[in-house]
């Protein structure tokens, strides 16, 4: 798993690629949590390079989504979700929870 972060003017853009399972999910949690802890609650997560996600990774995303949306202060929005990842979101029943955009430009522009 690889993670990059970029602080834009109004949004934090995070890309995660590779494999997010129970072994690597804590690292993703750490990165996203540190953004929230600094008081920034508008996060765009670019999933284009994400090859695999299991419930360990999904739990992190749910937890960060909750933190961002608290008191309507922000959101965690997803971009460029590969088809297999979209299938897993569907299987987990998570698709309706997230705002999902075809690409990063739209996701960032939506804030």
């Amino acid at each position: 798993m690889e993670i990059t972060t970029r602080q834009l003017r109004r949004v934090d853009l995070v890309t995660v690629s590779g494999r997010v399972d129970s072994a690597t999910a804590p690292d993703l949690d750490k990165v996203l949590r540190s953004i929230v802890d600094e008081g920034r609650f508008r996060i765009c997560l670019d999933l284009e390079g994400l090859e695999y996600i299991s419930s360990g990774g999904l739990k992190v995303l749910i937890s960060i989504l909750k933190a961002c949306r608290r008191w309507n202060r922000g959101d965690l929005r997803l971009a460029s979700m590969p088809p297999r990842i979209a299938q897993v979101f569907d299987l987990a029943g998570l698709t309706p929870l997230f705002k999902i955009y075809p690409d990063v430009v739209e996701a960032v522009g939506s804030f």
């Binding site: 399972d21 129970s22 072994a23 897993v88 299987l91 029943g93």
Partner: protein, 164 residues
């Protein structure tokens, strides 16, 4: 009946990727429809994650994953020596409740139920657990008899075990 192939590996989270690769390779060798392999891999990952995190509670141990074909079904058995726990008794999460009230637990078991046709648990004679996952309608044409899985340093791979 074709022989099954087993992987013995330390119950550590860092081995999840190796476990997934093993299942993917054996399923491919058995001629399983490539469209359903990712679902099977996900189910085994979730089951193995539960064993490592909840079964052994991070204390370490070993897990054996046996993959075989029975008729048109792919049968995967995960064995461990953790305290007996039957994951089939975990209730399904309520996916209709609002985000704020949604519990994050039980998601892995939910995913296993979603993608597999059968999940069964028994306590082994040694006092550990055996979880059996079954996926039916996997397609035919496998060549498992000539396919060997290359074990990694920390693994012992046994080949040619009977599944029953």
């Amino acid at each position: 009946m074709k022989p099954s192939i087993s992987l013995h590996i330390a119950a550590e989270l860092k081995n999840l990727a190796a476990i997934c690769l093993f299942v993917e390779e054996v399923a491919t060798a058995l001629g399983v429809d490539p469209a359903i392999i990712p679902d099977v891999v996900l189910a085994v990952d979730e089951a193995a994650s539960n064993i490592i995190i909840h079964g052994y509670q991070g204390q370490g141990g070993a897990v054996e994953i046996e993959v075989g074909q029975e008729g048109d079904a792919l049968v995967i058995r995960l064995r461990d020596e953790a305290a007996p726990f039957d994951p089939t008794t975990v209730p399904a999460p309520d996916l209709t409740v609002p985000l704020e009230q949604r519990a994050v637990g039980g998601l892995g078991i939910h995913l296993i139920r979603q993608v597999m046709d059968e999940m069964a648990h028994r306590v082994t004679p040694q006092g550990g657990n055996e979880l059996t996952l079954v996926k039916r309608g996997i397609g035919r044409g496998g060549t498992t008899d000539t396919k060997d899985h290359k074990g990694q340093e920390s693994e012992t791979v046994r080949k040619g075990e009977q599944t029953n």
